[in-house]
């Protein structure tokens, strides 16, 4: 059962892990378990980090928050909002219980990503429980720190395969004074062109699907007003809900059982010749594709365009879901994994077969 009170259960987690190391028991690490669909299927005893929760420190004028990994994202966002601040990378929740640890371990970012930066960009420091059973601290609570290798950011997006995140310090930013979402009717090719020719406008999100282009403007009232005047288009009413639905895949596009692919591409890449339905996010840099096309065809097309493809949701989650690594990169990944988790018990195989 998940605890609902703030608590530091780092020592208990360490004991559980030490035992698992001794027994060589693989662990399946979870926060709110809202992203269990993501990555490969991993076998292991369920280890919940959800009970390790609470904001450790937050200083609005320092632009830094530190919280335990099990802290619900929603709690953190509410606290930041009280002080007119936000997590700039707009992390997807994918469920009510989603936690900070899960957000950082998955390294996923929402619609604001191409304009504000990614989850890892905002990581300043972490405390991590490695597969050696040690609690280590890397980075810190200051904006700039180049002492030692950047292990905090290496852990962001590592899907719990290198260590169990215990607490995380993030840079936060003021919320924009105002936001407005504009909508235009156009084709996909026109949308891609608009995304890129309007890159100097105060954009914070740019999406295209079903013949409609959506642009979110953020900034001061004057700047947003002026950009609105330049761009035209219609405004949409409940923009906050709209973008939250896109972010969390509650938008009607995602209401489907067909395998969902995420293609990451140079943003100006023309529409790709793959069968299925598309939703273009991140100003064209992240494209969602619902398709039954073969993994090979999708990956080849993405790679040819200078990008990569992930089987994001559904499909065969026992085979590789992430874009294959080159042999030299794969070998290096395995060596890194072994240096953090020598017994290979942390989320084994969640990222790639073998680690």
């Amino acid at each position: 059962m998940a605890a609902t009170m703030d608590a530091d259960i780092g020592a208990a987690l360490q004991n559980t892990l030490l035992e698992a190391i001794a027994q060589r028991t693989p662990l399946r690490i979870a926060g709110g378990d809202s992203k269990s669909f993501y990555g490969r299927v991993t076998q292991g005893e369920h280890l919940s980090v959800a009970g390790h929760r609470g904001v450790v420190s937050y200083e609005p004028t320092e632009l830094v928050i530190t919280a335990r990994a099990g802290t619900p994202l929603a709690d953190i966002e509410a606290l930041l909002a009280e002080h007119g601040q936000a997590l700039p990378f707009e992390p997807p929740h994918f469920g009510a219980g989603s936690t900070l640890g899960g957000a950082i371990a998955s390294g996923l970012s929402g619609p604001r990503r191409p304009y504000a930066g990614s989850a890892r960009d905002f990581v300043l420091g972490v405390t991590v429980l490695t597969g050696k059973g040690e609690i280590l601290r890397f980075g810190g609570q200051v904006m700039k720190n180049v002492a030692g290798f950047d292990i905090s950011r290496l852990l962001a997006g590592s899907l719990g395969t290198l260590g169990i995140l215990l607490d995380i310090s993030l840079k936060v930013l003021p919320r924009p004074e105002t936001e407005k979402t504009l909508v235009f009717e156009c084709s996909d090719a026109e949308a891609i062109q608009c995304f890129n020719t309007w890159s100097s406008q105060p954009l914070s999100a740019a999406l295209f699907g079903n013949g409609r282009l959506y642009l979110r403007l953020s900034g001061s009232v004057a700047a947003v007003h002026a950009a609105r005047g330049r761009l035209g288009g219609e405004t949409i009413a409940d923009a906050t809900t709209f973008w939250a639905e896109v972010r969390d895949h509650r938008h009607s596009f995602f209401d489907d059982d067909v395998p969902l692919w995420r293609l990451s591409l140079p943003p100006a890449t023309p529409p790709l010749d793959l069968p299925g339905a598309w939703l273009l996010d991140w100003g064209g840099a992240q494209r969602w594709l619902k398709t039954s096309a073969s993994a090979e065809a999708i990956r080849e097309t993405a790679a040819k365009a200078g990008g990569h493809a992930t089987l994001f949701r559904g499909g065969d989650r026992h085979s590789e879901v992430f874009h294959p690594l080159s042999p030299s990169a794969a070998a290096l990944h395995k060596r890194l994994k072994a240096e953090f988790d020598p017994q290979a018990i942390l989320n084994p195989g969640r990222m790639y077969r073998g680690f």
């Binding site: 002492a147 292990i151 950011r153 100097s200 001061s220 990008g307 990569h308 990169a329």
Partner: protein
Amino acid sequence: MQISSTHDTSSLDKPALISALHRLLPGDSVLFEREDLRPYECDGLSAYREVPLAVCLPQTVEQVREVLRLCHERNVPVVARGAGTGLSGGALPLSNGVLLSLARFMSILEIDPVNRVARVQPGVRNLAISQAAAPYGLYYAPDPSSQIACTIGGNVAENSGGVHCLKYGLTVHNVLGLKVLTIAGELLEIGGAALDAPGYDLLALMTGSEGLLGVIVEVTVKLLPKPERAQVVLAAFDDVVKAGEAVGRIIGAGIIPGGLEMMDNLAIRAAEDFIHAGYPVDAAAILLCELDGANEEVSEQILRVRQLLQEAGATEVRTARDEQERARFWAGRKAAFPAVGRISPDYYCMDGTIPRKRLPEVLSRIAELSREYDLPVANVFHAGDGNLHPLILYDANKPGELERTEEFGGKILDLCVAVGGAITGEHGVGMEKINQMCHQFAPPELAQFHSVKHAFDPQGLLNPGKAVPTLHRCAEFGAMHVHGGKLSHPGLERF
């Protein structure tokens, strides 16, 4: 100072190595005569010097690969070098090693204005990227003060910052892809023009790795549209503490300036003397606050910031009247290091970071130390993100003064760690801060750094002895690890 790696190269046949290098590279690309090696004996931290065994100046990635393979095979350490402007001795050669200069990799391979990326060779100068992107209305955001000279490869290796990184991020936030050669000569392609590559974030790991994990042979950077307008406000204060408070007020008001820099009186006077930037020389401190973005937004923010500065007790607030004056205000700041170099035979540049709110106590403690050591200090401060550059003025020709300066510098870094900050914000650990690493990190963290290094370079041939101290060294140094602002032995006198 004698610096050599722990590698036993006593059996190394030097002439044989040089002739092997000659087989791989054209004649003018291998230097081995003492007078030819001299220019490479130090980086920007000239107090540390060492002549390398040989210098290689390859011109193709294939040549770099061959040199690395040869050194790997013969167990010869390799130190990569960009422009040698580093300030922590990162590119300091090893007497028993090869210095691998990337200076000839000067091509901008591609500017892609639509996808807003540039693909460049590692020896391209930081400023050259922005210059090449300028015709498209784009630029590369990180702007170290050394940008006319330093290379992008060096910037990646150090995760360099600049005066605009509060808003636009450090190198790590602006690099999208790398091509890296491992010591074994394997090519790793990391990231690219598409965001968030699959697998572990090797891009973040390589950035700031100080030449210990691989040799960067190509860099893809993000280009940003030039802001419609940029304007700088200069505020003078009769007290550095007030200037520090003003910084908190601006950020507390929800404004993230493009740049937010502070200089204290000694730095102001040195810069004014050198650049004639128009700084108020009587001020205890000045703040330079640049606001950029859409025209309307900048106008609004200028008014807000002026008001906030006045409320914080500024004795004078000036908005640069035109682009020339704005450029002059920045020129003074960017020339602060050489300006201090003009008023003192030598200076030692520190690079600690602190939580911003601790600024008043840190500055007063530095002032106390300055009196104690009888060495003047000029403070230049990336105020927005808490990165201090105290410049200690000294004279290396006076016996014992360098040693006193280093000890003083070490205390400043200890102070940064004790208030919850870091021993380096952008200049790197290199050779210089290797002992302070024992304060910043406990042995298990240091051991994990060595583990990461081991995954890339099991023989420890790339830039050995830098950036991460051995546990043995820390034990010898007798360092005390400081954690979470608390000393492990709080009863002991530290500063």
